[in-house]
Structures are given as C-alpha cells and as structure tokens.
Amino acid sequence: MPSKELKSYIVDNVLPRVEKPARYLGTEWNSVHKDWDSTLVRMAFAFPDLYEVGMSHLGLAILYGLVNEQDGMLLERVFAPAPDLEAILRQEGLPLFSLESYRPLSDFDVVGFTLQYELTYTTVLNMLDLAGIPLLARERGREHPLIIGGGPCACNPEPLAPFFDCFVLGDGEEVLLKLLELVGELKGTPNGRVNREEFLRRAAGLPGIYVPSFYEVVYQEDDTLKEVRPKVLGVPERVKKAVVADLDTTYFPSRPIVPYLEVVHDRLMLEIMRGCTRGCRFCQAGAIYRPVRERDIKVLLRQAAELLRTTGYEEVSLTSLSSADYSCIEELALALAEAYGNEGISISFPSLRVDTFSVRLAHALQKFRKKGTLTLAPEAGTQRLRDVINKGVTAEDLLSATGEAFSAGWQHIKLYFMIGLPTETEEDLKGIAELARQVLEQGRRLTKGKKPRVTVSVSSFVPKPHTPFQWEPQAPLGELKEKQKFLRSRLKGPGLYFSWHQPEMSFLEAVLARGDRRLGQALFVAWREGARLEGWSEHFRYEAWEKAFKACGLDPAFYAYRRREYQEKFPWDHLDFGVSKDFLWEDYQRALAGQVTPDCRSGRCWACGVCPGLKVKMRLKGEARNFAPTG
C-alpha cells in the first residue's frame, strides 16, 4: 500500500478505534516532514516503548533535530504501538509505520533503536516483527534496513547482538552523521541500496561503532567467557565510546517537538551538563557518561530564551544526572526564575540532592507554588551501607534537608532506597524504617497541625556492567521478597507509606544487563511467547521468560546470582567506556572495606582512566562546590 493510502486508511479506519489516537498523528508542532523521494538517506528513530515515554527522551530530541537539519538526510520517529493498535495492525496485516510520513519501517535505510532499559528488548524484536523485517541480522539482505542501536544499554548489548548490525557506543550526536554519510555514499542515489558488508566494514572504523558480527565469542567449559576476539582484519580489539568533548559547541536542538498528548516529561528540557563523578557504586550512568562536562550559563540562558519561543512550554527542567552539582546552578536557576517567573513559567530539577542547598533552591524556585511531593534518595538505611555504595550522604544531611523541606511548606516526602545491596544486613533494613520514622516525627514537629506523610519507595539492586559492583551477585528473588515483607511490616502506621517494585522485573533486568550472546535465543523465545512492553508491570509476565530459559537450556541464575572472580572476562570487556577495569576492581575492594571514594571534582584524581583514555577533560564552568560530605 503506498504511503498516502496507508496514512488515509489508518487515520480514517484505525485511529478512531484506538485509545489516545494523538500518539500516532505525527504532525505535532515542530515535527519535520521532509520530501521522501529527493532525500538521499532516510533513518527511523525507533523508541521501544510507548509514545509518552519516548517523547520524554532528550536523546531523541537531539538526534531528531541534528539529522533533519542536514541536507540529504531525514529522521522520522516510530514508537512501540500500544496493545490495542498492535492488535489491529496484526489482524489487518498492516506494517508498523513511521509517524511523519506513515512509511513502513522497512522502507528506511536505517532503523535506529535507543536502548534505555533492558526490559524493552522484547519490544525491539516485536517492532521489527511488526515491520516485517527479519529479526536476525544474518537473515537480512540489501533490501532490508540496517538495524542499529545506541543508548546506555549499548554498553553491554551482547544479548541483542544477533539482531543488530551495529551499535553506537557513547554520545550519539558525535558519530551518527558520519554513519549516515557513509550510508549515503554507499547508496549513491535516493533509490540506491547499501552493500551491507561494505557498510559494516567501514562503519567499524568510525569512533564508537561496534559491529558484533565481526567478533567471535569463545566460552570456557564452566560457561564463563574465554575471550571475545576480532575475526575480521582491521577491526579494533576494543571499541572506544564516542564522546562529545565540549557541550558549548556541540549541537542542541532549537525546535524540539511539542506533543499534543501529555507525555511523562511534558516540559522544556535544558541539558545543563553531561556526566557525574559522584561515583555511586551501583550507578551505571555515573560510570559510562564520564567525564563531567558542563554547559556555559550564557549558552543555557540563550537556549532557554530560544526554546521557550519555539515551543511555548510553561516549565523548564534543568536536566542532567545530578543537577544540583552543576557549578552555576544557583545563578542559572535564579536568573531563569527572574526572567520568566512573571510569565507563569516555572523552573524545575529532575531530582534533588540530599542536602539543604538543594531543598532551599527548590523552595526558591517554587516560592509561591503549591508544594507537592519532595523526593530524596538516601539509597541505604545505615551509614555503613551508604559508605559501601559511596552515596556520601549522612543521616544528618537527610534530616537537615527534610527539616528544610517541612519548614518551607512541603508535607509529603518520598524517600528512595535500594534493597539487596552488597553486604546488606537486617540492620540496614531497620535503618530504612528508622530514617523514615525520624523524618515523619520531624515533620510532625515542624508542621504543627498538619498531617505530614513519608513514602518509602524501594527498588531492588541490579548489578550493572562497567560499575564497581559488576562482580557482585544479585540478591535472590526469595530474599528480596522477604526483605520487602520485613520493611512493609515495619513501615505501618499513620503517615507512613510503602511502595516497591516487582522483584521479578529486577531479576530479569539483572540477567539481561550482564548477559552474553547466548541470551539472544532466550530473548527470541520470550518474545514469541508474548513478552513485550515489559517495563510496564501490567504487561510483564515472567512465565514467558521461564519458558524461554528452559527451552534454550540457559540458567538465568548463572547471570544474575553468580559472584564473579577477579580474573573473569566479561562479555562487555571489549567495549571501552573509559573507566578502567582495574579502577573498578579497586573501587569494589574499597566498597567491601567500607571506604568511600570522594568525587574527583574536589581535586583528587582517583585515576578512573576516563580523561587520558578518551583524551577528554572534565569541564566545569565555575567552582566545584556543595559536595556531600566525604564520609
């Protein structure tokens, strides 16, 4: 069916039957519709989750603007269809289509999936299948699009290796255009086709590009890895991530799409810095997005003015991994509040650091606004365990932050903790309940006559690649459930609330996060058993995976529950994100000894390897300050 007919059929006959049709219109403000026939290189950006999640993703906004501003290139969007639309597409034999031109995905030269979360992997397969594209890379030919992946999970993409042609490691805006230029060169004309072998051979020479089929994985008898070695001449033994050296000169979109629909992060996103060197030992983002690169306050003020004009948003979010750490945060936030406050535009942070500085700043920005919920993440219940995970926060920090919050008018505090952390004991769990009670009592003292509330939200620790805890086992399911029960019983009473995540989801996340290529088969079977949209607890069905592991003869415990030896080779060791394995091991040993590793912005370099290895430097725009105490 030609694209015009497909569009009118879907608009007239399909959209009236689905929930939230505004997800699929593709004509949002600032969406870009380029001429298909005359554009040489055509890429679809595929987000393996629903529109509301995908449209909240800054990476999509950056790459969408970047590619569409080039002559001869276009980038269109596609999201996972909700189950109601999927049912209609399958029933009527309609292909998954891009939102801008309503083209089947199979018409594109490149389909790029962003891999934000392990539990979206089955949705990736489902989207390929809905597009009629063969799932396995080796079964695709010249007539099929190149399937590429990027985003944080590309730091160990091995379970997905059989399905992808290549992965982009690191900052995508640094290398995507080079990749698409190569596609253009090999196509020659808009109707040309790409020679896949030649594309992959040359792509493997670009910075940050990993072509899994060029590497052979050899296992030992005990099922651990023997080695991953290049099987093609001229490809690097280790692939180094691509990295943006300077945030001030790199591309940032000036006309991001404004959705019709209310999406998860429904606001203007200003990226104030990239990277975080606090060094929380459970945090993968803190490891793989190093070094810290701040954006200049003048650049940010200019971007805010321009973006507000082009989007009309009523809220600006100052985003980064740890926004209160941005060295000019106060100047920036107050300057924005001053400039736009009387237009009813509010300024916000995605997360707050556990200290009074952050709470005061949040209060200054919301002075006249109704205070909702204030969320803080102490992560662990005792000082001992917080030192183990290098959280660098004390009970006094927390109580002075929450005290500030109650005095400023907040009545609901949400505290994030993790359970199943390495070395955790019952004392640490009791500590969680105790901290929550202390905060609640403090709230009662400070908000006389009001009814303060404290919610404890608990997630299960998942050991991740490229972190000091990559050698650690995950706590078994039964134990996690016991711990949840223990906490639930201790967090009863007026004013206390408890919320938790499904531990089965964290278990699967742990299996896939440190998985190897053999898991690709299980992924395929789980998808065939109906697994998709698994990040949503209402769609998550662990039974599909039980069947899959059984059918493939794979033991998920091998991946999730095994304590690794010092010398074990990991499936991601050949992917170089800058942080050296030696540093991670040393940091792991410090963790087990209860020693902290202070933030390198305080002046002391801990030789994590990033700056010399990636030939980049930390870029601060002001004096580094407001560190949490160093333990």
Binding site: L15, T27, Y260, E262, G312, E343, G344, F368, R369, K370
Partner: protein
C-alpha cells in the same frame, strides 16, 4: 482585555481531547508572544476558558475560547499571531473583544448544531425513522456513566432533526447546564442499524427558540 476566539478542530484535530486542545492553544498563545493575563494563586496559569467539551473523535467548526490579556491588542492581530502558531488540526476563525464581565461560553450556550454522517440505511428508511422519532413525546436512551449508566429522555432537548442529502443528519440539540443531548444518542434512538461515520459540530447558539436562533458570536452583548 478579554477576547473571544472562535476556532475549528477538524481533520486529524478530531483526535484531540479537550485537554490536548487546551494545551495546544495555551502553547500557541505563548509562542505567539501574547501578553497573557495569569491567574492568582499557587499555580499561575493563563486565564483561558473553554466552551463545552467535545468528545475525542468529533470534529467541530465552532469551538470557542475566551482569553484574557494584560495589554490591549487588536483582535485581528491576535488572530493572525495564533494562526501562525497552531499545530495541524486546529484553525482559528475569528476573534473579537468581549466585556470583562461577559458571561462565560458555557453559561451562554443553549444548543448546538451537528452534522452526522451515517451509513446502514437507505435515505427513505432514514426519513421514516426521523418522522417516527419526532412523533414521539418521550425518547428514552441509556447514557453511559461512571456507575453503569442511567436512562434519560432526549426528546425535550431534540429541537430539530432532518436528513440532508443521502446520509447526513442535521440536528439541533440542547447543550446547557439544564441538560444536553448527544448526537450519538439521537442516532442510537433513530435506528440501531445506523452506523456513525463522522460527527461534526457546526454551530453553538445562545438561543434556540424556533425563530430565535442566535449564534454565540452574535450574542456578544446579550
């Protein structure tokens, strides 16, 4: 100053919910740089008030929004500025100043006109069904609600109903705080074998007597 803006929600605009339309208009007004007056209180937001909500899937060529500006602006200029900033699916049609104490749109509206394209019956059969329906003194339908639903009599609020062409029903229905009739309820009462292909609201009126049909935009001083 206060302005009343008439706009259309047609084509793919029919897929937008009332909330989505409100957000699109507010953001368009901000992009257009209109000096929006803000509400007082904890969460200042633009003083904009909309008329009666339209269901997702229904088109309209007669929607209205009142907006308040801090500084006077020529209505024509506001209209042009908004027209440049609206996403596909929404179109501004007219704008005029109204007194600050003008009643709200919802308070003024009494009835609405709709065009409903149907299929499933021949024109003759539809005409007969219309005659039968209009001859009745009471017409009870089930209105779905949060708790199962309730029976309501739509006949008093059904002011006009006729067939135009082969399969387009034109109807004038009550739309007021005292009770409203929905176009799909009229079709349901006409004949269960009729299917709705499209619904379009074509006008809002502030008076619905047989000889006093006054469109909302002409009722600015009433």
């Amino acid at each position: 100053m206060r302005l009343r803006v008439k706009f259309a929600k047609v084509g793919i605009g029919r897929f937008l919910s009332q909330l989505e339309v409100m957000r699109a208009l507010q953001r368009a007004a901000r992009r257009a740089g209109l000096p929006l007056a803000l509400t007082e209180g904890f969460n200042p937001h633009p003083r904009m008030s909309f008329g009666p909500a339209l269901a997702v899937g229904v088109e309209s060529e007669a929607e209205y929004v009142d907006l308040e500006l801090k500084e006077p602006q020529a209505p024509g200029q506001v209209l042009e500025a908004l027209a440049r900033e609206l996403p596909v699916g929404l179109k501004v049609l007219a704008a005029w100043e109204i007194p600050l104490d003008n009643p709200s749109i919802t308070a003024q509206v009494r009835c609405a006109a709709y065009q409903v394209e149907v299929e499933g019956l021949a024109p003759g059969q539809i005409k007969e069904a219309i005659q039968r329906l209009l001859a009745q003194e009471e017409v009870w339908v089930l209105r779905k609600g949060k708790e199962g639903g309730r029976k309501i009599n739509i006949r008093p609020g059904l002011y006009q109903l006729e067939l135009k062409g082969e399969a387009t029903l034109e109807m004038l229905l009550s739309l007021s705080p005292e009770g409203s009739v929905r176009p799909e309820e009229v079709v349901q009462a006409l004949d269960p074998s009729l299917n709705i292909k499209n619904i379009r609201r074509t006008a809002l009126y502030i008076s619905c007597g047989p000889d006093r049909l006054i469109p909302l935009e002409h009722g600015r001083h009433l």
